[in-house]
């Protein structure tokens, strides 16, 4: 006896067909919902990965629609090395969110849900839009570097006060070796911020005057500040009579710290500071010496070079995308000057041969000339 297909089978087939149609309808509805976006790229994050898991977009301002198809809240990030470039946090299951971000050409990664899930890759290709954005010089590109320099001024300004207080305490205690060591330390933060500090001429004239520029030389009543203390500690070999000078220095550095904190900064100033300082070193301290009693100019120059390097590094952040070649040259010149100063550490400046000083001065002049080339490229006026 043949067994005709039972009624049940027909029902099952019918049921399957209905489910298939319903499933298709659901898929159709879901897929209809996603393209409502005007985003450049849709990324669906499911329980295991991003779909697609490898994306290529042209550089410039790109938008991404992130669809959370997993059953837990997710965050989606574009990562460059260890740095997050952009992110959308806390996208609930079933929801989607858009993210627009300015992308420079390069290789990035995308996080895809669980931290244990493999990351996707995002390749950003060169484009006219990206080239235009990179070469554009805007005030916005200067805001970070200007703010960072202000932080540096505040930190080093405070450090200068603290170091001078330590010097004063050693002088008050009549401890000559401690005072000499503290003097050398106290110079360093001041030298780091000197590119701006020396422009406050009233303070500079009481904090850092040199006897050679005063009519009465060491006996001149205007001989105050760091070098007056240096004269006592290293030429007269005594802390005697230095307490009031040290008190005054602490007070003047306090005023300087306030001024450094309040000084208005702008791109033109940031551009002018490091080259002017490098040139000044090449023309004055390197050939002639400045700490004539202590002879430790080499150590001072390390701090002065750090101050120039801070500024140069900040300007490089601006120029890097505009003129990568100049950026690289600045890196090379800055390193050469840093290395040249490092090689002279520990020597009494009066013992450094003239030709070696000339060579060092040339390094700083070349650095200044390279810094000069920034003005036509990222100068804003």
């Amino acid at each position: 006896m043949s067994n005709p297909p039972s009624r049940g089978i027909y029902l099952a087939i019918l049921g399957a067909a209905v489910l298939a149609v319903a499933g298709g309808a659901a898929f159709w509805t879901a897929s209809r919902q996603k393209p409502q976006t005007s985003a450049d790229q849709i990324v669906t994050v499911d329980a295991r990965s991003c779909q697609p898991n490898a994306i290529t977009v042209p550089g410039g301002r790109r938008s991404f629609e992130i669809v959370n198809a997993s059953d837990r809240p997710i965050e989606w990030e574009i990562v460059d090395g260890v740095m997050v470039v952009a992110e959308r946090e806390n996208i609930a299951p079933g929801f989607h969110a858009t993210l627009a971000v300015q992308l420079a050409p390069g290789s990035y990664e995308m996080t895809c849900g669980l931290l244990t899930n493999p990351r996707g890759t995002l390749t950003v290709t060169a484009s006219d839009e990206a080239t235009a954005a990179a070469s554009e010089v805007t005030l916005k590109k200067f805001l970070g570097p200007l703010s960072e320099y202000r932080v540096y001024l505040v930190m080093q300004g405070n450090q200068a006060v603290k170091a001078a207080e330590k010097l004063r305490d050693a002088i008050d205690a009549g401890d000559l070796p401690a005072a000499r060591a503290a003097w050398a330390e106290a110079r360093l933060p001041y030298r780091r911020v000197e590119p701006l500090a020396y422009r406050f001429s009233d303070l500079e004239n009481v904090i850092d005057p040199s006897a050679a520029y005063l009519a009465g030389r060491e006996q001149d009543p205007g001989f105050t500040g760091y070098h007056r203390i240096e004269y006592g500690l290293f030429a007269q070999n005594s802390t005697e009579g230095l307490a009031p000078v040290a008190d005054r220095l602490v007070a003047d550095l306090g005023t300087l710290a306030e001024r450094l904190k309040a000084a208005p900064l702008d791109p033109a100033l940031l551009l002018a500071l490091p080259g002017a300082m490098a040139r000044q070193l090449a023309e004055a301290q390197i050939p002639e010496g400045e700490n004539s009693y202590a002879g430790n100019d080499a150590r001072d120059l390390t701090a002065a070079t750090e101050g120039i390097a801070k500024l140069t590094g900040l300007l490089r952040q601006v120029v890097a995308s505009v003129d990568p070649k100049l950026d690289a040259e600045l890196g090379t010149e800055m390193q050469a000057a840093t290395d040249a100063v490092a090689a002279l550490q520990g020597q009494d400046w009066s013992q450094v041969p003239a030709e070696q000083r000339q060579k060092l001065a040339a390094d700083f002049t070349r650095l200044a000339e390279t810094l000069d080339r920034l003005q036509p490229i990222i100068g804003m006026n």
């Binding site: 997050v84 992110e87 806390n90 931290l115 703010s147 202000r150 520029y213 002017a276």
Partner: protein, 273 residues
């Protein structure tokens, strides 16, 4: 010794300010607040390093009570500066990821950091086996401190951070999932609010004149949040999250969402959209 011409031109440049910028561009007035914010962050990371030293030392000494007492206050410095801290993808994961970010949850070997320690101290009720996690946390925090000190803060991240912290509270803190083992969520809440309000307060002078209504509304919402949180203060910190009433949770939730929405307009208002 000194080029007088440099002095005079330099000061003229310094005092001349910035003229002629288009209205849509950000202003140089942002430099002060951005710098002050980095100093605030630097102070908090210095505090975080000091607090984490004490916290991890207690764990390694096997002092359970002390370690539990130090957990929440140590986290606050991290929670305040989260907009910057979470820029470092690797460290944010190893310092502050939650168990459910991992495939095997608490059992996942990649689960480290504050919440791994929290899990051990509260769920397991013991410092046993936590020393390697304590060492790792301390090392990560030192690295974070160094990286932050060397970082030029991106202006749009700082300005956007005020809203980002509120979104963080809205999405994961209100539900009480952040500190699920210790129930110290209200400490984190307070720190997130403080971090957001710091950014807002620094930027307020730049928008107060042109947008007094906005400032009044945001000030009011921050004050409302403070008033709710004040009810749950205990000693230097907060009572357990379980004591938060439904009514207060709802009120906080609505204020947080409004703040997130309002603060998200700061970038546009300041030309960093």
């Amino acid at each position: 010794m000194i080029g007088t011409y440099l002095k005079t031109t330099g000061l003229a440049l310094a005092l001349g300010g910035w003229a002629g910028m288009a209205a849509a561009d950000p202003s140089l007035d942002l430099v002060g607040p951005l710098a002050d914010y980095k100093i605030y962050v630097a102070e908090n990371t210095a505090q975080l390093v000091a607090d984490a030293e004490a916290f991890t030392t207690a764990i390694k000494a096997g002092d359970l009570d002390k370690a539990k007492a130090l957990f929440a206050p140590t986290r606050t410095s991290y929670e305040k500066i989260e907009p910057i801290a979470e820029l470092f993808s690797d460290l944010d994961v190893s310092i502050d990821a939650r168990a459910d970010d991992f495939e095997k949850a608490e059992a996942d070997e990649a689960f480290t950091g504050f919440h791994r320690l929290e899990y051990g101290l509260w769920e397991k009720g013991s410092t046993e086996g936590l020393a390697p996690f304590a060492d790792r946390l301390m090392a990560d925090i030192h690295t974070l401190n160094e990286r932050i000190n060397g970082l030029t803060f991106p202006p749009e991240v700082v300005v956007g951070g005020a809203a980002a912290l509120m979104e963080e509270v809205a999405a994961t803190k209100i539900s009480g999932e952040e500190d699920r083992y210790s129930r110290t969520d209200l400490w984190d809440f307070d720190a997130n609010f403080a971090g957001s309000q710091k950014i807002y307060d620094l930027l307020k002078p730049l928008i107060a004149k042109q947008d007094p209504e906005f400032v009044a509304k945001v000030d009011g919402n921050f004050a409302a949040v403070d008033a709710v949180l004040a009810k749950y203060k205990e000693g230097d910190g907060y009572v357990s999250y379980e004591k938060l009433t439904d009514a207060d949770r709802n009120l906080l939730s609505s204020k947080v969402n409004t703040l997130a929405e309002d603060l998200s307009t700061l970038r546009g208002k300041l030309g960093l959209g």
